[in-house]
């Protein structure tokens, strides 16, 4: 009962923070974000990663443009109209000639690395340097440190991806001479937001490990291990399992086959990488109509054509919310751990 009372008091206090206090808290939070942001963009680790990502994107843009241009030159003038309706502009992000992977493959691969690099030493480096206890002695709420770091990293992330996305778009317009339609533009924006959410997941995983593990090396290795597991081994494991699950001898009926197929698909969806790939393909290739198996009955009579944006979004809504939920779970865990941890380092 007493606990309840104090809780009630705390909640009341929360809502009635005097203005002066609120504004001084805000400036403190801004100060943390500003400092962390400066630290990130001046650290070699992040500069190198940003350069790698930028260069690979330029490379994939180059191959995409040459491919598309060849196709355009080969085709007659009137096909340009057709090209437009076939979402040619989106192909900038997805097409590849086999030598260099496409933009979305690169992001799917390097994005997690960026997220982990931004997060893996967020808390434990402060702890090891002895700056955490000094920070904690300042009149700021404890969670500001964690939130500030997260906000700064997310800001870097958002800036990078919007900059890259817009650069690719502008180069596409300049070189190909085809402007994007409104729908294409919106699809690209949604794609960029998806990328940010995806990297935010890895960022939060990194932060979680940085709270949990005292050594930065341990948390970096743990995050990278998870990244490699999901991007390389997880799909192999599921394939191995699916061999026995989808063994024709065990399948009795059509509905059985469908449910088993669904099971395998759901197993795949545990991996954030798979969720990301599914969502990006749907967003960037409007011709994708379903992510699960389709029966012959469902496809008979269907006219092959692109889905409108709203339908594509509807299709990936579970994936998107799943990704964001995973991000939030990681953040909530690190938040809880951090709030309960002793400040003392040794």
């Amino acid at each position: 009962m007493e606990r309840l009372q104090t809780l009630k008091g705390n909640i009341q206090k929360w809502f009635t923070i005097p203005n002066r206090e609120k504004s001084s808290h805000m400036t403190a939070f801004q100060a943390i974000v500003r400092k962390e942001f400066t630290d990130y963009i001046t650290s070699w680790r992040i500069i190198i990663l940003l350069l790698i990502i930028t260069f690979t994107c330029i490379g994939s843009l180059y191959t995409a443009i040459t491919n598309i241009q060849d196709a355009l030159d080969a085709a007659a003038e009137e096909t340009k109209e057709v090209a437009r309706s076939a979402f040619l502009f989106l192909k900038l992000f997805t097409i590849s000639d086999g030598t260099l992977p496409s933009f979305i493959t690169f992001v799917g691969f390097l994005g997690p690395l960026l997220g982990v690099a931004l997060g893996f030493d967020a808390i434990n480096s402060e702890r090891n340097k002895g700056t955490l206890s000094r920070l904690m002695a300042q009149p700021i709420p404890r969670d500001f440190v964690l939130n500030g770091k997260f906000a700064a990293a997310l800001l870097i992330n958002a800036l990078l991806f919007f900059a890259l996305g817009f650069l690719v778009m502008s180069f596409g317009i300049l070189i190909l001479g085809i402007p994007p339609t409104l729908e294409e533009f919106l699809r690209i924006i949604c794609f960029l937001i998806l990328c940010i959410a995806y990297i935010a997941f890895w960022l939060n995983l990194g932060i979680l490990f940085s709270v949990r593990f005292k050594q930065a090396a341990t948390s970096a290795l743990a995050s990278i291990a998870i990244w490699i597991f999901f991007s390389l081994f997880y799909s192999m494991l599921v394939e191995l399992l699916s061999k026995s699950i989808l063994n024709p001898e065990n399948i009795a009926s059509t509905s059985d086959a469908i449910s088993k197929q669904g099971l395998v698909l759901n197993l795949m969806r545990i991996s954030p990488n798979y969720l990301f790939t599914e969502s990006t393909t749907t967003l960037m290739s409007p011709s994708v109509r379903s992510l699960g198996p389709l029966t012959v009955e469902q496809t008979t009579g269907a006219i092959a054509g692109p889905l409108p944006l709203s339908q594509s979004l509807l299709l990936i809504w579970p994936q998107l919310t799943g990704l964001i939920a995973a991000t939030l779970v990681c953040f909530a865990l690190s938040y809880l751990l951090f709030m309960r941890q002793e400040v003392r380092s040794k």
Partner: protein
């Protein structure tokens, strides 16, 4: 001057089954320098963390400047500066920038912060190192920067956890002088923890002795000695040849002798007042050659030795 600014009321901190701090009550007066003395792991740092609201007491309550530290830590931290023992700075930033960052966390305006940082750097003697990266600072410089950092928020109380740890004697002297200045000139109440006895002895108005989460004794040096040693205020060391039981018996009958310990050709005589002259006379009268006589009064060294290292071999901790 005498109203308490830090009040600990029966606080305990329990880790698993063990008490790190065991029902500790303590009042620190406004304007004094209080030394918290104890061996490593006595619970000094834990108590300090509880005063700042960085750790929650299992039972009991802590008030600093009249504010409850557990329920309202931010208000407390606005008034209290804390220098942790494992002090660290952002090494890629200069000392000046580190101070500015602290200022911005305290909601100081940029202009005010720069003025204050310059003033404090000059005060702790780091003017030359203002624009040097904090990673290049020596241990002593870091500690002084730490002191400046604590003062950025213009605190009423400063809590220093092992401020002289790992610093050369000259550096220690400077830091202690600074602390004393802050106390006398700026009227800042100082609480410092240490296991280095002489330093505490030099500057503290009052000292609390802390062992295994309990406060054994508190007061100024004289009171402490009285509380802890009853009447044994002096030890007289005698070196003589030969020492026999007859001599020991004779010395024992002298007024003021409480206890004699013999080791080969040496005697340690515990007395309540200075009777070295009488002892010397007896030895000479007995035709024994006196090679050395030395008197020593108790400092914290003996307190330390007796309570922390020697354990309770000389009996229970005296209750005053």
């Amino acid at each position: 001057m005498s109203s308490p600014i830090i009040t600990l009321d029966e606080i305990s901190k329990q880790y698993d089954e063990q008490y790190a701090v065991d029902h500790l009550s303590l009042a620190i007066k406004k304007g004094e320098i209080f030394g918290l003395l104890g061996p490593n792991g006595a619970g000094k740092s834990t108590s300090i963390l509880m005063m700042l609201g960085l750790s929650e007491p299992t039972t009991g309550s802590v008030h600093v400047c009249g504010i409850n530290s557990t329920s309202n830590p931010i208000e407390v931290k606005r008034r209290v500066g804390y220098l942790p023992d494992d002090l660290g700075f952002y090494e890629h930033m200069t000392g000046f920038e580190n101070l500015l960052y602290t200022a911005s966390l305290n909601g100081l305006s940029r202009k005010l912060a720069e003025e204050r940082a310059n003033y404090l750097l000059q005060r702790v003697g780091l003017t030359d190192a203002t624009n040097k990266k904090a990673g290049k600072y020596s241990r002593g410089m870091r500690q002084r920067l730490g002191l400046a950092d604590v003062l950025m928020k213009d605190p009423e109380v400063i809590i220093l956890d092992e401020p002289t740890l790992g610093i050369d004697p000259e550096g220690v002297r400077e830091i202690l002088k600074l602390i004393q200045q802050l106390n006398k000139e700026d009227g800042i109440t100082v609480l410092l923890s240490s296991h280095q006895l002489h330093q505490v002895q030099q500057i503290c108005d009052r000292v609390g002795i802390f062992v295994k989460g309990k406060l054994l004794a508190e007061g100024n040096m004289e009171e402490l000695a009285k509380q802890l040693f009853f009447e044994d205020l002096f030890i007289i060391y005698v070196k003589a040849e030969p020492i026999d039981s007859e001599l020991i018996e004779k010395i024992r009958t002298l007024r003021g002798v409480n206890h004699i310990e013999q080791a080969l050709d040496k005697l340690e005589i515990y007395v309540d007042h200075d009777i070295s002259a009488d002892i010397a006379k007896i030895i000479v009268q007995n035709n024994i050659s006196l090679t050395q006589i030395q008197k020593k009064n108790y400092g914290l060294d003996e307190i330390y030795h007796r309570y922390f290292e020697g354990g309770d071999s000389r009996g229970e901790a005296p209750n005053s």
